[in-house]
């Protein structure tokens, strides 16, 4: 076959004569490689997150099964005060004769509860406010919500917390949860506002309007599911922060005095001059378990970060 026998096809001529219109060739194949990894896979793919999850799981188990694990009732003050470690009191006793090990074990409950609920509430507040104000960017509603957010961001948290705690008659765990939640949402709300502003102009949002969706549905059913990674990250962040805040509050003597938490342990040990008395375990163990829990949470957040920032994924 030579070139000169093949005429140069002239445009418009029956160049495609052989073609038969609408011939179905292959069945549309749908491969699943394009499917992004599920979020748990992504998180699990990070070694740090795995470590974090395992540590957290241990803490959760300890908290759930505290009554089975703890050798003593954490509030039972019938032991000899200031006893050293022994079979009955693994880490010794406090100045008022309570078992340190049991307090430590039961303390995990408060921290986890506060982390869970304060994290949840503050994330919900932040999400709702951030989403609405971001979606309504440029309107009075946005101005109003941004204003509230800014004020919340600017008000010094500690005096506010102290006031809120002091003002309420009863200092329960729920008060702490509430106070931490309402003082910690503003930053996350801002971040979410920024993200929704960038999402809001995506075509699928306009498309949803053309499907006749109402605003609420667009914000919470169409846009929000696309922010799960940010929401998840802000939840983990908020939970970590809340755990620390609870400990800090308790360590200022503003905690829930009815229940044992690591913060109240720190407070009591510090107030009783445990360092001066050489009661190392009492001071340092709660601080340490707290730091480990928070480190674990931060590690998990590394994993969650991978969701929103795929660039980090090759890391792990």
């Amino acid at each position: 076959m030579t070139t000169d026998t093949t005429p140069t096809p002239t445009p418009g001529e029956d160049f495609m004569a052989e073609g038969s219109p609408r011939q179905e060739l292959a069945v549309e194949q749908v491969s699943d490689t394009a499917r992004p990894d599920q979020w748990w896979q992504v998180i699990w793919s990070s070694k740090k997150a795995r470590v974090g999850v395992v540590i957290l799981a241990v803490y959760v188990l300890v908290a759930v099964f505290a009554p089975l694990i703890a050798p003593q009732d954490p509030l039972d003050s019938s032991f000899e005060p200031l006893a050293g470690p022994s079979a009955a009191n693994w880490l010794g006793t406090t100045t008022s004769g309570q078992d340190i090990a049991s307090q430590l074990i039961y303390g995990s409950r408060i921290s986890l509860l506060v982390g869970l609920f304060a994290g949840l509430i503050s994330t919900v507040i932040a999400t709702v406010i951030g989403l609405i104000s971001g979606y309504a960017e440029g309107t009075i509603l946005d101005d109003l919500l941004s204003f509230v957010t800014n004020v919340a961001l600017v008000i010094p948290a500690l005096p506010l917390i102290i006031t809120l705690v002091a003002y309420s008659e009863v200092r329960g765990i729920w008060l702490i949860v509430g106070v931490i939640s309402i003082t910690s949402w503003a930053g996350a709300a801002r971040a979410k506002r920024a993200q929704i502003i960038s999402l809001r102009n995506r075509d699928f949002v306009t498309a949803a309007k053309f499907s006749g969706e109402g605003t609420w549905r667009i914000v919470f059913r169409e846009i929000m599911p696309n922010m799960t990674s940010l929401v998840a990250a802000s939840f983990v962040g908020a939970a970590t922060g809340a755990i620390g805040a609870e400990a800090g509050l308790a360590a200022l003597g503003l905690g829930d005095s009815q229940s044992v938490s690591w913060g109240t342990m720190l407070y009591q040990s510090n107030a009783q001059g445990a360092i001066a008395q050489g009661l190392w375990l009492w001071v340092f163990v709660p601080g340490l378990v707290l730091a480990i829990l928070m480190t674990a949470m931060t590690f998990i957040n590394f994993g969650v970060d991978l969701l929103s920032n795929p660039h980090l994924r090759e890391d792990a």
Partner: protein, 538 residues
């Protein structure tokens, strides 16, 4: 421990040959976060020192109620209406001017002009009638009151006397920033750098022979742990704040030199709301008083340092002489006796239900809510023991911790059932145990007065009035008897354990500190008096 920081205080701290002590270091009295704001005005909320410059008329040891004449050599009551002080001769202000009775009269008259200055309540009707006049007559100062004012005595003798030739020129003394103090006290200001106040001994002090400490350094505010560590390191010679477990924290580190004295200065009492069920019932109050494991409280709240308190409301043994004959020789510390408590409750009609919980005599459920100040660790420890005792005898109770300020609010409104409180064991009996029981001293919406439990009994009120008007020690004892009796039989409040006036001190540089064996002074309040007892160790 090798305390080598801040070593300046150690180098020159060796006792000198003449029994003089070079220097002692105490924590700052100003208790302020920021330094550099100089004010020696003894009536400002935070003078740099309220102890070492201006002096009172008389120092009364609040433990034993013994008086030591100071700027006044003698005081005399004529009835409860007239009080005369003989003013000491030969006292000089630090600027060389002579101190006279006129200065004393000036100081008290200044209070009249500026009520904000009147911490002793001389010119108003708190605890006794207001003054009519305060005049200097020769070397005497005479107070005339519109009525009985005997309970004001403590306040009057403790008032710091100011130099007329300075304070008469400054206008409102409360607004006066006193930067160059002119005072009668044993020390004058050496230097102050915003943090460290160095006081130097005045050679011309009127009792200079008794003052052996050349220099006093006031520096730093410490919490318990820091203070303990500072003390142990020798960077502090005495500390007056609360250090939990002083024996282990401090004394054990160096038993030879480290000591502490937590003198019973008052007592922690269990205060029910006597206007509300069930505490309105004397029998109930009595019964639960036997369910208080005071030994345990002492252990858990104070490491066993403070002893269980006498139900008389008097701090024993220092006030043993005041105990009425009826109870002398008897152990007035109520025993911990659950059986008796149960038995009393049964008898009073608080029946135990099937669940082991008692009900009111009228059958309504009985439950007690215990308000405790969050963050007061010792109170919380006591509260736990109290509640345990109550539950043990079938009185369903629980602790609610609230902010201390909220608890104060409850004291004002009366919106509480049970709380812990302090009964001051001061020498002015009417003002202390008396006020605790008098129905005139029930807190109002705006002010906390001592009768928080809202106990009310006309007979007791009469007895308090009588006691208040009495200036004679012996008859005071007789007047006290009905009050002690009320405490012992009506249980307006239940005494738990003594509350301390504290000192932790070192004896490597100075000896002669007050101690259990030699309680010549309230270690916390009577620092001037203590100073005159300090000498260099042999």
């Amino acid at each position: 421990l090798t305390g080598c920081a801040g070593s300046a205080s150690q180098k020159d701290s060796k006792a000198s040959a003449d029994g003089m002590i070079d220097q002692l270091t105490f924590p700052s009295e100003a208790d302020a976060a920021v330094g550099g704001l100089v004010n020696y005005n003894p009536n400002s909320p935070k003078p740099l020192t309220a102890t070492w410059l201006y002096e009172p008329l008389i120092v009364r040891n609040s433990l034993t109620c013994e008086e030591t004449p100071w700027l006044a050599t003698k005081s005399t009551w004529e009835g409860g209406n007239k009080l005369t002080f003989d003013i000491r001769d030969g006292v000089k202000w630090s600027d060389g001017q002579a101190f006279t009775a006129k200065d004393v009269a000036f100081t008290f008259n200044l209070m009249k002009q500026y009520p904000a200055f009147d911490k002793a309540g001389v010119w108003n009707n708190t605890f006794g009638a207001p003054a009519k006049s305060v005049t200097a007559q020769g070397n005497q100062v005479v107070f005339e009151f519109t009525g009985n004012a005997a309970p004001k005595y403590d306040g009057i003798i403790a008032t710091k006397i100011l130099p007329e030739h300075v304070y008469s020129k400054v206008g409102d003394p409360t607004k006066y920033v006193d930067k160059t103090p002119v005072s009668t006290g044993p020390y004058k200001v050496g230097s102050y750098n915003g943090r460290r106040l160095v006081l130097e001994r005045r050679a011309d002090y009127w009792q200079a022979d008794k003052v052996k400490v050349q220099k006093i350094v006031l520096e730093g505010q410490y919490d318990a742990a820091q203070a303990a560590l500072k003390l142990r390191a020798g960077q502090l010679d005495a500390y007056y704040g609360e250090v939990p477990n002083p024996k282990k924290t401090f004394v054990d580190a160096d038993p030879k030199n480290n000591h502490f004295y937590y003198a019973p200065n008052g007592m922690t009492v269990l205060t029910g709301n006597d206007q509300q069920k069930p505490f309105s019932d004397v029998k109930f109050r009595e019964a639960i008083s036997y369910a208080m494991n005071k030994q345990d409280m002492s252990l858990k709240a104070t490491y066993g340092v403070m002893k269980p308190a006498s139900q008389t409301g008097l701090k024993l043994p220092s006030m043993a002489s005041l105990v009425p004959a009826k109870y002398s020789g008897e152990d007035t510390v109520l025993p911990y006796d659950l059986a008796k408590a149960n038995q009393l409750l049964d008898a009073a009609g608080y029946k135990k239900g099937a669940d082991g919980k008692r009900t009111n005599p009228d059958g309504s459920p009985l439950s007690v809510n215990f308000s405790v100040q969050a963050g007061f660790i010792d109170y919380q420890a006591i509260a736990d023991v109290v509640v345990k005792g109550l539950n043990d005898i079938g009185v369903n109770s629980k602790v609610t911790a609230s902010a201390p300020d909220s608890v104060d609010g409850q004291k004002k409104t009366g919106d509480f059932q049970l709380m812990l409180e302090y009964l001051h064991g001061g020498c002015e009996l009417a003002k202390n145990i008396g006020a605790k029981l008098s129905s005139t001293q029930i807190p109002t919406k705006t002010d906390i007065f001592p009768n928080v439990q809202r106990f009310s009994d006309p007979a007791v009120d009469a007895a308090v009035t009588k006691l208040a008007s009495d200036t004679d020690k012996e008859s005071q004892k007789a007047d006290l008897a009905p009050l002690v009796d009320t405490m012992m039989t009506k249980f307006p409040v239940t005494a738990l354990i003594y509350a301390p006036a504290r000192i932790l001190y070192r004896t490597d540089k100075a000896v002669g500190w007050p101690s259990e064996d030699n309680a010549y002074a309230n270690p916390q309040d009577d620092k001037l008096l203590v100073l005159t007892h300090l000498t260099a160790p042999k």
